[in-house]
């Protein structure tokens, strides 16, 4: 059986189990797939679904860009400067272990319940992970290949482009993938705690209304969006960045 067929059958059986369980429970707290699809279409038709999906996606994007930018910078510096690395390593370990919720609360209290605080809270949660991954990459840079750049007098730019970048790219791709996975989950919590729109806000709203079908509708829709981004953009990039390592 092909991999695709296996995946398809696996997916269909999951939906089937869900449908059977919902049928058996016949409770408002466990709506079946058909009921969820119905409210999803209703939310989509009213435009609310896309509105909130769009806002959450923008927050994901903004935090992602900030976290990657700062994380890459910190990672490169720590990876290349052993003294700074030794000094700041405990800070990084501390940051890695601060619970997401604590960062969110701090940001809202210090910056205020606003968009900047929301985006920063998410970004700060992600920065240490990016920094750690990129630091590994910067440490792994092969000095033997730098010799080639020096003997053949490559310009700085050329050296970055053909010697440094290909070595860092797999680490970048990995931190983009894990970054996306982490950030979208935290964004929902940030929205739940201090925003009046977005998927996280909607989930909180329907939680208070005990509207399980809509909670599932919003969660699943956003999960689908993230999974599409991951499988169409991030995974292919990561595969390409690692292509030269694989045996054919």
């Amino acid at each position: 059986m092909s991999r695709w067929a296996t995946s398809a059958i696996s997916f269909v059986s999951l939906i089937a189990i869900w449908a059977i369980a919902a049928e058996a429970a016949s409770s408002r707290y466990l709506p079946g797939p058909a009921a969820v699809l119905r409210v999803t279409l209703k939310e989509a038709a009213s435009g609310a679904l896309f509105h909130h999906l769009g806002i959450t996606l923008l927050r994901v994007l903004a935090s992602f860009v900030i976290a990657m930018g700062i994380g890459i910078l910190i990672g490169l510096i720590m990876g290349r400067r052993p003294k700074l690395d030794r000094f700041f390593d405990p800070w990084l370990i501390l940051l890695l272990n601060v619970p997401a919720l604590v960062v969110i609360v701090f940001c809202y209290l210090w910056i205020g319940i606003n968009e900047v605080a929301a985006v920063m809270a998410v970004a700060i949660n992600k920065i240490p992970n990016v920094a750690t991954t990129i630091r590994e990459g910067a440490r792994a840079l092969d000095p033997a290949l730098d010799d080639v750049a020096r003997v053949y007098r490559f310009s700085r730019l050329k050296r970055l482009k053909i010697i440094v970048w290909p070595q860092l790219e797999p680490f970048l791709a990995a931190s983009v993938r894990t970054g996306l996975a982490l950030i979208w989950k935290i964004v929902l919590v940030v929205e739940l705690l201090g925003r009046s729109n977005g998927v996280g806000f909607q989930i909180n709203l329907y939680f208070q209304l005990f509207d399980m079908a809509r909670i599932i509708a919003y969660s699943l829709s956003f999960m689908v969006v993230v999974m599409v981004i991951e499988s169409l953009v991030v995974k292919p990039w990561e595969r390409r960045a690692n292509a030269w390592r694989q045996n054919d």
Partner: protein, 236 residues
């Protein structure tokens, strides 16, 4: 005509002196072998000459275009063989012609991990030739190759050196190789390493008969044997 001028007064690693008072010049178009016991600092000296190690007392004057065949090939693993040659600044056509010249016409699209060590060294030689080097530095180019691969590469290097367009500096352990290729041999010995002998051979490499080769090789072997001894003495 002098092409390369090397004056290394002192080179240390930490507190350990490695090279001391090594001075020589290389004449354009000639092939010089650098010999000495293992671990004596031959590669260190090559790195200094190639400009890869600026931390030494002294001065080195070299022509602007240097090609280097490293002991480990140092190809960029993410590029094809052809691209690995192109990157030093040549066209795809010329890179392909060079691959042809080193006997690997079919390897253009292969990646470094698909090459044997012998093939990789040939590609590295092609890369070094791509910049049309005035100085070609070869660090044990025939080491750890099977006899056939070593023979092929030896012939290539010999032909290159005989054309006389390039000043070559070759590190080798094998006095037979040196006898077959070099015009001159520099022998390092001691700790820190100094220049112990500087031997020029009378007969040009391409005109040497079997007897000449044997004579040169055995001369080198006896010099090296005494270099080994003196090296051990100083080390102890």
């Amino acid at each position: 005509m002098t092409d390369v001028e090397v004056q290394v007064a002192n080179k240390v690693f930490g507190a350990t002196p490695i090279l001391q008072d090594i001075r020589f010049t290389l004449e354009r178009g000639r092939t010089t072998a650098l010999l000495g016991p293992s671990g004596i600092g031959k590669t260190t000296l090559l790195r200094i000459i190639a400009g890869l190690d600026p931390q030494f007392e002294g001065s080195v004057a070299v022509p602007p275009r240097i090609g280097m065949v490293f002991q480990e090939p140092r190809l960029l693993p993410w590029f094809s063989t052809l691209r690995n040659i192109e990157i030093v600044g040549t066209t795809g056509e010329r890179a392909a012609a060079l691959l042809d010249q080193v006997g690997l016409p079919a390897a253009a699209s292969l990646y470094p991990r698909q090459l044997s060590l012998g093939m990789a060294r040939r590609v590295v030689l092609a890369r070094a030739l791509a910049i049309e080097p005035e100085l070609l530095i070869l660090d044990e180019p025939f080491a750890s190759l099977d006899p056939t691969a070593a023979d092929g590469l030896r012939r290539l290097v010999k032909d290159l050196c005989e054309q006389g367009n390039v000043t070559a500096l070759l590190v080798s352990h094998d006095s037979g190789d040196v006898a077959a290729i070099a015009d001159r041999a520099l022998i390092l010995s001691g700790r820190p390493a100094r220049l112990m002998r500087d031997v020029s051979f009378d007969v040009a490499p391409e005109q040497r008969c079997a007897g000449d080769l044997d004579a040169i090789a055995s001369q080198l072997r006896s010099i090296l044997a005494s270099a080994n001894e003196s090296g051990t003495e100083r080390f102890n």
